[in-house]
């Protein structure tokens, strides 16, 4: 059976140079040349959320005439790994160009009606692909050989000649394959309900040009269902077992003290036993769900399936307040690569669930694993508050994380993560008092000294001490978070000195 050959796949540079897109204006050209598997004209944002990867998204004139919808469309298209977005020629495109540049996605403007461009492109794609006759038995053998849901769907899609295959749960696409549906026949099949993960739906949408009828398609799907179920069950069991070390780690992480006594000496051994390696560098990923959502086992199964798109071999542990995974990373890799990979692969699905992802900084060795987990958790929680469905990196956020929080406990935790030297300093109370005085008097040494009732020179020495413990006073952007943190620390320290709290009460939880 002939299948679409990779050698003659279209790419953006090609069609722009001498193809259907030769008349468009390139507003932003992405740094890598994207391939094109399909084209879709959209008139509402929801449609973009469902396009398959490598699709050229053409916004109809109504959506494309500038405005926020173009920004949102770019975002969705980027999440879906679309090849390019084409909008109507508009004099107001300046602000969306910056966004295209930031997301590094091809953005083009069409002078003529965008739908004409889309049709021309569709014709070009159609010429490359061809439909084929299918042999059912051969097909059944092919799917049983596959070991992941996605590859099974891919196999079905290819055999059906370019059908769009999706496995959905409550409207969320867990796995998909094939080009965008273009109004051809759609066949849906409910999977027999297994365990407690709710209703799953397998659907196949064909191209208009398909010669297959609905009955044929259904037959192929029914043949494939048992393979899908068994592959998934196997994956879920493996994942639960594999996440045990990560789960153990969150026990450790929950004991994290405010004063940054990160781990006692016994823990590295414990951690090593659990499969963590001191020679590796790790980055933590935390997926948080909104506080008001009920917890359910089903979601973990769904999430694990989604997670495989990001890191198939790193298990996702279900922990209190969310899910955690620790990912060994290569020292040479840019720490920003992980968050952007997550964003690309799963953020649109997570956004539909209302989840947010946080990533920690990268650190080598296992001593800091609990702190990494907390960093990721803080970043994820920040995302929940500021922009659900986004991926937030703690490294980018730093102290800025506190601007999203109101509760003292969370702010203290960020303090522990971002100002470890201060938290460990024996004279931290004085440092906090001095810094606050300095900030409250608009950085005036004289006024602050007066307020503290000390000599200006004494304060100058203390300012040096403030800098020693890592407090930066001359970055305007840091002042608000710093102010928030110190105000809270001052209060908690006052509280703890007067009440002499049980040290266990100092444990901080973000939930």
């Amino acid at each position: 059976m002939p299948s679409p050959s990779k050698a003659i796949r279209l790419d953006v540079a090609g069609v722009v140079a001498h193809g259907a897109l030769s008349t468009v204006t390139m507003l932003y050209a992405a740094s890598t040349n994207a391939v094109i598997d399909g084209v879709v004209i959209v008139s509402d944002l929801e449609t973009i959320k469902r396009v398959p990867p490598n699709t050229v998204v053409v916004l109809s004139t109504h959506v494309g005439s500038g405005g926020w919808q173009v920004s949102a469309a770019l975002r969705h298209a980027w999440e879906r790994r679309a090849s390019a977005v084409i909008i109507a020629q508009s004099t107001y495109a300046e602000s969306v160009i910056s966004l295209a540049e930031r997301l590094d996605i091809n953005l083009m403007a069409a002078e003529q009606d965008p739908s004409i461009i889309a049709l021309a492109l569709a014709a070009e794609i159609g010429a490359v692909k061809s439909l084929a006759e299918v042999d059912l038995a051969q097909f059944a053998r092919a799917v049983t050989k596959e070991t992941t849901v996605t590859t099974i769907l891919k196999t079905i899609s290819i055999r059906l000649g370019g059908f769009r295959l999706t496995l959905e749960h409550d409207g969320i696409v867990l796995a998909a394959a094939g080009p965008a549906a273009d109004g051809g026949p759609t066949v849906q099949l409910e999977l027999p309900s297994a365990a407690n993960w709710g209703q799953l739906k397998l659907s196949a949408s064909g191209p208009k040009t398909t010669e297959l009828n609905a009955l044929d398609v259904r037959t192929y799907l029914e043949v494939a269902v048992p393979s899908i179920q068994s592959v998934w069950m196997a994956g879920e069991i493996n994942d639960s077992a594999a996440s045990a070390p990560t789960l153990a780690l969150t026990d450790v992480s929950d004991c994290l003290q405010v004063d940054a006594q990160l781990a006692d000496k016994a823990r590295p051994n414990l951690l090593a036993k659990l499969g963590w390696h001191s020679e590796h560098s790790y980055q933590a990923v935390w997926i948080a769900h909104p506080a008001h959502q009920q917890h359910s086992m089903g979601r973990t199964a769904i999430l694990r399936l989604l997670w495989r798109k990001v890191a198939a071999r790193r298990p996702l542990a279900e922990v209190r307040g969310g899910w955690l995974s620790l990912i060994p990373v290569d020292e040479s890799e840019d720490p920003g690569q992980l968050p952007s990979r997550i964003g690309e692969k799963v953020s649109s699905s997570l956004a539909e669930l209302g989840f947010s992802v946080g990533t920690s900084m990268r650190q080598s060795g296992v001593n800091n694993l609990p702190a990494l987990a907390q960093q990721a958790r803080v970043a994820a929680d920040y995302g929940i508050r500021i922009a659900p469905g986004t991926v937030t990196s703690f490294g980018d956020l730093g102290m800025g994380a506190v601007t999203a929080y109101m509760d003292d406990a969370a702010i203290s935790l960020v303090a522990g993560l971002t100002l470890p030297a201060l938290m460990a300093a024996p004279d931290r109370e004085q440092i906090i008092r001095d810094t606050l005085a300095f900030l409250e008097h608009q950085n005036s040494m004289t006024l602050a000294a007066k307020a503290l009732n000390i000599h200006r020179n004494t304060l100058q020495q203390r300012i040096n001490r403030i800098r020693d413990v890592g407090i930066i006073l001359d970055e305007p952007e840091q002042i608000l978070p710093l102010h928030l943190i110190l105000t809270v620390l001052k209060r908690t320290l006052q509280g703890s000195t007067t009440e002499q709290k049980d040290p266990h009460n100092g444990t901080i939880h973000l939930t």
């Binding site: 509402d44 944002l45 929801e46 005439s65 500038g66 405005g67 926020w68 920004s71 949102a72 469309a73 770019l74 975002r75 969705h76 980027w78 107001y92 300046e94 602000s95 910056s98 966004l99 930031r102 997301l103 909104p290 008001h292 959502q293 956004a351 669930l353 209302g354 508050r385 500021i386 922009a387 659900p388 469905g389 986004t390 980018d396 956020l397 800025g400 601007t403 999203a404 109101m406 900030l439 409250e440 008097h441 608009q442 305007p476 952007e477 002042i479 608000l480 710093l482 102010h483 928030l484 105000t487």
Partner: protein, 358 residues
């Protein structure tokens, strides 16, 4: 009960501006001045909802405008008093206290003047908890409290009392009347009992404006003010960002007519995120890198990074460094019914609110 002094009134107007930075505050400051001038002639009394008898008659006061700023055609001064009289006449009983139709901008502050003129106390509650553009967008509507009778008085002194069941229909009728009355009208509506307001209103919102004004007006560093604002309002700072681009054109209007600024694009100082504010009379949306970070009914306030002062939309300029604050609206606005009435779909935006995962 609390009797307001001139400092309180000045703080009140600052807070009223903070909660509605999308509207030109000229009329708010004009009212502030007027009330301060008139204070020696009477008292502005602010009472808690629980100080009312459950059966007391209370009524909401507010301007309804259509195409005209209040400052363009200043009120004569007796319009609201006439509205209250009309309500009393229609219902055959005395009004015991007044409340603001909205907790912000002109409709936040004006009942203080009427309270001073009539001697009636002002309830520390309102039915919006922010400023919303339609008279039907209230928590009283959500609670099934009748909007009418509605008393309407124009600058000409012409007046009318409307009996209408459906709040949306009331909106249509009042608007068309307002056009012919000159462009704005004084209105008294949602006459209800103290108990109804207690059950379905949003409380403490007048005091909140005073507190915001106190914080903004204090001689303190910007960051200290922010810390206090965030604690008071449960607010978050979405970003400190520089204005990169402004657009002033209309898209979805059939005429394609110009309008005020329709969107602002900013670049966050620290993260480089591209932030887009979508404006259609209100600040409707905040997109961070294309993802929806806030949407109506979230309250968005722009503050100048250097002074921590409210930046009104009319005064935003390219290159300016701005702190974008998000204050959540009252929780009831995030329920399904609340979002239907005052969430993105009510403003023609087909999207799910970021804080709703129904």
């Amino acid at each position: 009960m609390r009797t307001l002094n001139s400092e309180d009134v000045r703080h009140f107007s600052k807070g009223a501006n903070f909660l509605a930075c999308h509207i030109d505050p000229a009329a708010v400051f004009a009212y502030e001045e007027m009330i301060v001038q008139a204070l020696p002639t009477g008292d502005v009394r602010l009472i808690n909802i629980d100080e009312l008898d459950p059966n007391d008659l209370v009524v909401a006061l507010g301007f309804v405008t259509q195409g005209l700023a209040i400052a363009d055609m200043p009120p004569v001064g007796d319009e609201f008093v006439r509205c209250i009289q009309a309500i009393e006449q229609r219902l055959g009983r005395k009004v015991s206290a007044l409340y603001s139709l909205a907790a912000g901008n002109i409709n936040g502050i004006l009942p203080l003047m009427t309270g001073l003129q009539t001697g009636l106390p002002i309830v520390d509650s309102d039915p919006m908890g922010r400023v919303l553009p339609l008279i039907s967008q209230t928590t009283l509507t959500l609670g099934g409290v009748r909007i009418s009778p509605i008393a309407v008085t124009g600058v000409t002194g012409e007046h009318s009392t409307l009996d209408v069941e459906d709040p949306q229909r009331a909106e249509t009728l009042v608007r068309s009347l307002v056009i012919e009355l000159g462009g704005w009208a004084a209105t008294a509506m949602y006459p209800c009992t103290g108990q109804q307001l207690a059950e379905h209103g949003i409380h403490g919102t007048m005091t909140r404006m005073i507190k915001i004004g106190e914080i903004l007006g204090a001689e303190e560093p910007v960051e200290s003010k922010y810390v206090q604002l965030m604690r008071l309002l449960n607010a978050t700072r979405v970003a400190r960002a520089r204005v990169k681009h402004m657009e002033s054109f209309s898209r979805d209007k059939a005429l394609g007519l110009p309008t005020q600024t329709t969107s602002l694009t900013l670049v966050a100082e620290q993260t480089g995120q591209i932030i887009r504010l979508e404006i259609g009379n209100e600040i409707l949306l905040v997109l961070v890198d294309g993802a929806v970070a806030a949407a109506v009914p979230d309250i968005i306030t722009l503050l100048s990074a250097d002074l921590g002062q409210v930046v009104n939309l009319d005064d935003v300029r390219v290159g300016q460094l701005i702190d974008i604050f998000l204050t959540p609206a009252a929780p009831i606005w995030y329920t399904e019914a609340g979002l239907n009435l005052a969430g993105p779909p009510a403003f023609g935006l087909q999207l799910q609110h970021p804080r709703c995962h129904a």
